[in-house]
Amino acid sequence: MISLANPTRFLAIATAILPWLAVATVIALIIGLYLGFFVAPPDYQQGETVRIMFVHVPAASLALAGWTLMSIASLGVLVWKHPLADVAAKAAAPIGAVFAFVTLFTGALWGKPMWGTWWVWDARLTSMLVLFFMYLGVMALRAAIDEPARAARLVAILTLIGFVNVPIVKFSVDWWSTLHQGASILRMDGPAIHPTIFWPLMANMLAYALFFLTVHIVLMRAELRRRRIRSLRLMAVGA
């Protein structure tokens, strides 16, 4: 982390690893799609519709992981004053928002044939919707504040406060009586999914995680360059 604190060094490392990361992402996505459509069997109750799980569940996991990443980065802004912390937080927000949207959209398309409804105001769905709005909120807050340092501090504080929603989303199915099914993967007793569905799900999780990482690094690089542009313009005006 210390060695990555130098933005120039980070840019050099990012530029070097991005092509490999992109290739790994594409390969993982192809494998995930193949396993999800041609290897995983249909569910005994849901039939082929269970295949929506291979996009819905990874998207939900990464929507939560995105806010967690932003929260850790926010600690970096407020506590450790790490030079790249705010860059990482800013880059993660749009990606997390997109994954939260994909979660809600695919969830509705899964819910209609399975539950008979596009939407219910149960704890899981509602808290995930709140997470999506929180992503939009931090992006709007940052855009509304001109001074970058002040924006970084205020967004970091809001992000840390909003982190309370992450365990609410995760444990909502345990704490309240919900239509959404309970935890099947991260459970005290271990995964409750048959291996023929579990491993294709894990393959898709990896693929989406690699996608998140790739886009995150691209956006961090873009943000560092934008900050460099701002510095150069300020120097030109000062001269």
Partner: protein, 53 residues
Amino acid sequence: MLGLGPHAAYIIVSYGVAALVLLGLLIWAVALDRGASREVRRLEERRRQEAKP
């Protein structure tokens, strides 16, 4: 349809919209990065030119 059962449309639309949205995110990120890269090069070149005696 396509051997995906009676709810095939829901499956296809799920994957289709997810793919479009994620692809859109990727294209936007790359466009932002490339635009910033071009602008940095332009400003640094201008600075070098102005620094020449």
